[in-house]
Amino acid sequence: MTNPNPQSGSPDKEPASEAQAAQNALGNTERAEVATEPDRSVAKPGPEPEPKPSLGRLFLDNLWAANTFTVTLLSLVLAIVVGAVLMIISDPDVLSTYSYITSRPSDAINSSWTLVSEAYANLFKGSIFDPEAFSGWLNGANGWQAVLAPISETLTYAAPLVFTGLSVALAFRGGLFNIGAQGQATIGVIMAALAGFLLPLPPGLHLLVAVLAGALGGAIWGFIPGILKARAGAHEVINTIMLNYVATYFLTWLIVQNGVQDPNRTDAISKGVDSSAQLPRLLGDNLRVHAGILLAVLATWAVAWLLNRSTLGFELRAVGANPDAARTAGISVTRTYILIMVFAGILAGLGGSNMVLGSTASALTPLVVAQIGFDGILVALLGRVKPWGVLLAALLFGALQAGGNRMQSYSGISLELVTVLQALIVIFIAAPALVKAIFQLRAARAARLQTSLAKGW
């Protein structure tokens, strides 16, 4: 996973040593992996490098060094191994073969292998490519849709995660830890749905208004912790956690109100969003993938531009690196904090819009937002708080979820295993020193990796 972000190579703008170190670490990784691009080795401050070793040598050196790519890959491997262990110890049949492992080890090994390999094969088939569907298409047994169905599912699950991941990543870069993406997405989903079934607007305009309403809802919910942080010094971690729950209770209250609740239902479900406000599906009605994923790519590009090319982005990173220095340099830290949280809220709100205007749901229910806000935190960390990295991380998480569904129905492995895998991946990513120790990796040539950015309460 090289960072495909074409705009990240502007280290001369980085104001502080922390960002500098991270940039150097990343720069070196990139140089090794896309070493053919000459413009990668932009002029960096610091000592002149020693005479360059050959490309192949450099590649081998970096393959087993603790750089971003290797650590990410090995974290995945570790998580998959732990997941396999969990599957084995929770299966009584397989576990019973371990009672006589000394006399017939082949039983234990075979049964474990069957269980684990089948589960992970289903994970793959459900998220990326199913060979049976492909051969079925060649034979004419099923249409081309079945071949693309896994990818469609993956993209559907990934789209909202891109938004919440970007929300968390953007705030991270500004030195704020936005745990409130969940709440911001909740208010976003409410506003988007209300605009979706209350406003009688023509198609096209209706969709636009509904999406923007979601963004507005998120912005409001992000503004509150932003202004509390800026004006009263209240820590955003505490406030965003609390606002998550306030938003959830507000949603459960709102759903059952007159005018919102579906008049034909007694359970907690709202009216459905008008079809004029729904995001169009990209590959016909049988596949769930919708325009949300295009919006997500657009948002990724916009955030990358904002962070790396705009004045606001520069101020944001400066504040994130060192608020005191930024203030001395004449940047309004209060204003920046508020703007960061508003932008983070907008992104999370858009993620919320995706949940109700896309194909996941078309009406409000208490669980309509699912876990996208909390998953967004993991996605942001996995994507190393870089916009394009977040996009890739969201795709991975989307794939895990899509595959998890198939794993549940075909192998009887419950969906919770996906949660475990996701949490484990991020734990290992967050502690590169541990991965390094387990696999005896060489130290990377540049500064050490790190993802931690927040500063306690």
Binding site: F177, I179, M242, Y245, E416, L421, I427, A430, S452, K455
Partner: protein, 426 residues
């Protein structure tokens, strides 16, 4: 370095001149009082509002006419607000504020109880107090776990995960062994397991502690949910039917009116929780361990200079926190319910709120937990009498109160100075 000591910017401006904090609070209280006297007074009915000293409508009761009660208590709130506005000595601030707030709640209750459907114009105090403590119990354990962790400088956002893992392993091993005590020990170990991960990653690998807490919560939800589906759902009799602690009546104390039946006929967890508050409070402020813990949490470099093993203190405290929270989780599965997926459902975060609202102090955390428990119980009660107040808004109360608290509206809230900052020796 990600761990540089950057002080929070824009510290709440120091109140100067006439509008001191006390006066602002007074003004707010005055407004609340006016609201209750006028609005609650107008909405209350002429029914007698009965607060019975038992579990049901029977028995002795404190009675007051609904309208009169609502207005009377509203006036008391107004008086308290006016007193603060006029300016009272500093040591009177909290008592006066307390009286004002309690009167406000009573005025609200007079309205609600008198406006309930006929025949239900009573509030069973024993029931309400017992419910408050039962609902506050996981919050008490969770907040104490937070106190232990954060006083030594490790942020504990993983309370939810510790409670959940405690509840799960308590249920699992309690069921397998058939013994409540094995279950209790297993619950403590389960909570400590999450704590161990938190400690190792936060202290040894310097992972950001808030990040780690969030991830560990998800991990706990995933692991317990996964094993629940694989084991407990397929064979509930074997894996999810833990024995339960029976209620213990405490001689003498159980005969105290109202409090006796409400508190002293409960289960072991209630006594354990209250005892732990006392023990941790004394431990923290009166013993050598407490002094070391606090010094490590406030200024680890100074503590290290004086020969305190900073990292050892932190490891020990984080593990202890896991034990406490694990037992808190067992207060669900070994006393009340069988295990279900994600059964803690956010209580860990309310416990975090109680910790912050209680200013990182065991006694404060207890009071905050009781306040949140009362709000929860009140929501149940109001639901039972078909109140016009939506229960969701009462459920929001703990969270809103915490936001107000950290925003500096209800006094200055300050975390231990080194909370969340890893210590690197040398």
């Amino acid at each position: 370095m990600s761990t540089m000591a950057v002080p929070d910017i824009a510290v709440a401006p120091v109140d100067e001149g006439f509008w001191t904090r006390s006066r602002k609070v007074g003004l707010t209280l005055l407004a609340l009082g006016l609201l209750s006297a006028v609005l609650f007074g107008a909405l209350a009915t002429d029914q007698q509002a009965r607060f019975t000293l038992s579990d049901d409508a029977a028995g002795a009761a404190l009675e007051i006419n609904g309208t009169i009660g609502a207005i009377l208590f509203g006036i008391i709130t107004i008086a308290a607000g006016a007193a603060l506005l006029a300016g009272v000595p500093k040591r009177w601030f909290l008592p006066v504020l307390g009286v004002g707030l309690v009167a406000f709640v009573l005025s609200f209750l007079c309205w609600q109880v008198s406006a309930a459907p006929t025949g239900q114009n009573f509030m069973p105090l024993v029931n309400v107090i017992r419910g408050t403590f039962i609902l506050a119990l996981p919050l008490i354990f969770g907040a104490l776990a937070g106190v232990l962790c954060e006083r030594s400088g490790v942020v504990n956002v993983a309370i939810e995960g510790q409670l959940l893992m405690g509840a799960f392993s308590g249920a699992l091993f309690g069921s397998i062994s058939g013994s409540v005590w094995v279950g209790l020990v297993a619950a403590a170990i389960g909570g400590a397991f999450i704590s161990l991960l938190l400690a190792v990653f936060a202290i040894r690998y310097l992972v950001d502690q808030v990040v780690m807490g969030i991830v560990l919560n998800l991990l706990a939800v995933g692991v317990t949910g996964f094993l629940y589906e694989r084991l407990m759902q397929t064979d509930a009799a074997k894996y999810n039917s833990a024995p339960r602690f029976s209620n213990w009546e405490i001689p003498l104390l159980k005969d105290i009116p109202v409090l006796g039946p409400a508190l002293f006929r409960g289960n072991i967890f209630l006594y354990l929780g209250l005892l732990l508050v006392l023990v941790i409070h004394i431990g923290l402020f009166r013993t050598r361990w407490g002094l070391r813990t606090r010094s490590v949490g406030e200024h680890p470099i100074a503590a290290d200079t004086l020969g305190v093993k900073v990292l050892r203190v932190r490891y020990r405290n984080v593990l202890l926190a896991g034990v406490v929270a694990g037992i808190g989780g067992a207060s669900y599965t070994l006393a009340l319910y069988s295990f279900t997926k994600n059964m803690i459902g956010g209580k860990g975060f309310i416990a975090l709120a109680a910790l912050i609202f209680g200013r990182w102090n065991p006694t404060g955390a207890l009071l905050a937990a009781l306040f949140f428990g009362f709000a929860d119980q009140l929501a149940t009660y109001l639901g039972a009498i078909n109140s016009v107040i939506p229960s969701q808004f009462l459920a929001m109360l703990p969270y809103l109160a915490t936001i107000l608290a950290v925003a500096g509206l209800v006094g200055r809230v300050r975390a231990p100075a080194a909370d969340g900052k890893p210590y690197i020796k040398g």
